[in-house]
C-alpha cells in the first residue's frame, strides 16, 4: 500500500465520508449517548475498535465469502466482536458500562459498521481495511466527542465530567468547570439538544466545505457494487 493511498483512506473515513456528519449513519447511538464528552468518547472508542476488528476479519475472509452469504457472515462477525467488547468493558470499565448500557450491544446495529464491511473490507486487502476501519471510527468518535462537548458545555458548564469512569482514579482531576455556577440548560441535556447540536455541527461542516468551491460534494453513499 502506498502512503498516498493510506492518507486518502484516512481523509475519506474521518472527514469526507464522516459517518456522523456526512453519511448520517449510526445516528441512534450518536444522539443518545452524547450527553457528556466522556460518554461520547467511550462509545466512540468502542465503535472504532469494532470497526477495525470487523473490517480486518471481513477482509481476511473475503476470499471465502460468497456473495449470497456475505451479509449473515458480516452480522455474525460483528455481533461476536461487539459482544467481546461488551464483556471486556463490563469487566474492566464497569462504571462506564452501566452509563452506556444498552448502547454497547447496539453497536451491532450501527449501519456504519456493516456498511464499511460491505463497501470496503469485502473487496480490499487487510491493511487498507484496517486503516479504513480506523479512519471511519475516528471520524465517528470525533463527532461523538464534539457533540458531547457542545451539549455538556451548554448543559452543565463542564467538560470531561466523569472522566474517572474511563481513566480510573487519576482521571478525577481532568474534569474542567468552564462556566462556574452554571444553572444548567435543560434543552441541551435532553434528547432535543442532541438533534439541535447535530444540526449545528452538520451546518458548520457544510459551511466549511462551501468555502472550498474547488471540491465536489461527496456522494452520499459509496457503493460501487450494487444498485
Amino acid at each position: 500500500m502506498k502512503p498516498g493511498q493510506l492518507k486518502q483512506i484516512l481523509a475519506e473515513g474521518a472527514w469526507r465520508q464522516n459517518t456522523g456528519l456526512v453519511v448520517l449513519l449510526g445516528l441512534c447511538p450518536l444522539l443518545a449517548v452524547t450527553g457528556t464528552v466522556i460518554n461520547g468518547l467511550a462509545l466512540g472508542l468502542a465503535t472504532m475498535l469494532t470497526l477495525m476488528v470487523s473490517n480486518l476479519s471481513v477482509s481476511l475472509l473475503r476470499g471465502l465469502l460468497k456473495p449470497d452469504i456475505r451479509i449473515p457472515a458480516f452480522v455474525l462477525i460483528i455481533a461476536s466482536v461487539v459482544t467481546v467488547i461488551e464483556l471486556l468493558m463490563h469487566a474492566f470499565f464497569s462504571d462506564l458500562y452501566r452509563v452506556l448500557g444498552i448502547f454497547i450491544p447496539l453497536i451491532v446495529t450501527n449501519c456504519a459498521i456493516i456498511g464499511r464491511a460491505e463497501a470496503f473490507a469485502s473487496r480490499n486487502a487487510p491493511l487498507p481495511s484496517l486503516v479504513d476501519g480506523f479512519a471511519t471510527g475516528l471520524g465517528f468518535c470525533l463527532t461523538l466527542v464534539l457533540l458531547g462537548a457542545l451539549r455538556e458545555l451548554t448543559g452543565h458548564g463542564t467538560l470531561l465530567a466523569g472522566a474517572s469512569m474511563l481513566f480510573g482514579e487519576s482521571g478525577r482531576g481532568l474534569t474542567l468547570t468552564i462556566i462556574p455556577n452554571h444553572p444548567g440548560f435543560l434543552l441541551a441535556i435532553l434528547p432535543p439538544g442532541a438533534f439541535f447540536g447535530l444540526a449545528l455541527l452538520i451546518a458548520a461542516r457544510n459551511a466549511w466545505q462551501a468555502r472550498k468551491p474547488a471540491q465536489t460534494v461527496a456522494p452520499l453513499i459509496v457503493d460501487r457494487h450494487e444498485t
Binding site: G35, L61, L64, L65, K66, D68, I69, P72, A73, L76, I77, A79, S80, T83, V84, L87, L88, H90, A91, F92, S94, G184, L186, I189, L190
Partner: protein, 214 residues
C-alpha cells in the same frame, strides 16, 4: 450437481464455521471475564451499601447476610425487596433495604434505605431512576444534598403527617418544578420505616428466606 458438494451446502458449512469460531471466541472471553464481572458487581453493591453504613460498623458478611421479602403489600411493588442485615458481634446493627418507589415521574425509582436497630434512618441513596434530568434528578447525591435530609428521621420524627413534601403539608422540600419525584421518594422511605417497625424481629432473625410477610 456434479461430484462436488452442492453450493448451498458449502455456504451453510462456511456460515456454520464462522458461527462456531465466533461462539468459541465468546466462550473464551466469557471464561476470562466472568469472575471479574461478578466481583465488580459485588463490589459496586458493597460500595453503595457502605456509603450509608461504614464498613467498620459491622463485622458480618453483609452481601451474604441477605433476605428477600416477596409480595409485601406495604411496598406497593411486585419485585421482592432485598434486605441486607448488618451485625456486630452477632447483634443487629442495621438493615439496608433495596426498595422501589413505583410512582416516580418516569416510573420506578430504586432506593437503598438504611435503618438502624432502633428504627432511625441512617441514610437513603438512589440506585436507579429515570427522572427528568435537571428537574427530578436532585434526588441523586451528586446533584444535591436533598436525599441526605432523611438521615436521623424516624417514625416519630416527624409524625406520620410530616412524612410528605411541603406542598402536601409535610416537612420535606420539593424541588422547583418537580413535586412528584420527591413525593415518591418520601413515601417509599416512610413505607420502609413502617415495614421495619412492624417486622423488626423477623427482619433480623436468621432465616426468613422466602417467607411471606406484609
Amino acid at each position: 450437481m456434479s461430484g462436488k458438494s452442492h453450493p448451498v451446502f458449502r455456504s451453510g458449512m462456511l456460515l456454520g464455521l464462522i458461527a462456531l469460531l465466533g461462539t468459541g471466541l465468546l466462550a473464551g472471553v466469557n471464561e476470562l471475564t466472568h469472575e471479574r464481572i461478578l466481583e465488580q458487581e459485588k463490589l459496586r453493591v458493597l460500595q453503595q451499601l457502605n456509603e450509608i453504613l461504614p464498613a467498620s460498623s459491622y463485622d458480618n458478611d453483609l452481601l451474604e447476610d441477605r433476605i428477600e421479602i416477596e409480595n409485601a403489600p406495604s411496598f406497593h411493588h411486585p419485585e421482592p425487596v432485598v434486605v441486607y442485615r448488618a451485625r456486630m458481634h452477632g447483634r443487629p446493627v442495621a438493615v439496608l433495604m433495596i426498595v422501589t418507589a413505583p410512582d416516580g415521574y418516569n416510573g420506578d425509582i430504586r432506593l437503598i434505605v438504611g435503618i438502624d436497630a432502633s428504627g432511625t434512618v441512617i441514610g437513603v441513596r438512589v440506585v436507579a431512576h429515570r427522572e427528568t434530568p435537571g428537574l427530578g434528578d436532585p434526588i441523586e447525591t451528586g446533584k444535591s444534598d436533598w436525599i441526605l435530609g432523611f438521615t436521623g428521621k424516624s417514625l416519630h420524627n416527624p409524625q406520620a403527617a410530616g412524612w410528605a413534601v411541603k406542598r402536601d403539608g409535610g416537612e420535606f422540600d420539593q424541588f422547583t418544578g418537580a413535586t412528584i419525584t420527591p413525593r415518591a421518594v418520601v413515601k417509599a422511605v416512610h413505607n420502609a420505616l413502617l415495614y421495619f417497625a412492624a417486622n423488626r424481629q423477623t427482619l433480623f432473625s436468621a432465616n426468613m428466606d422466602r417467607e411471606q410477610a406484609g
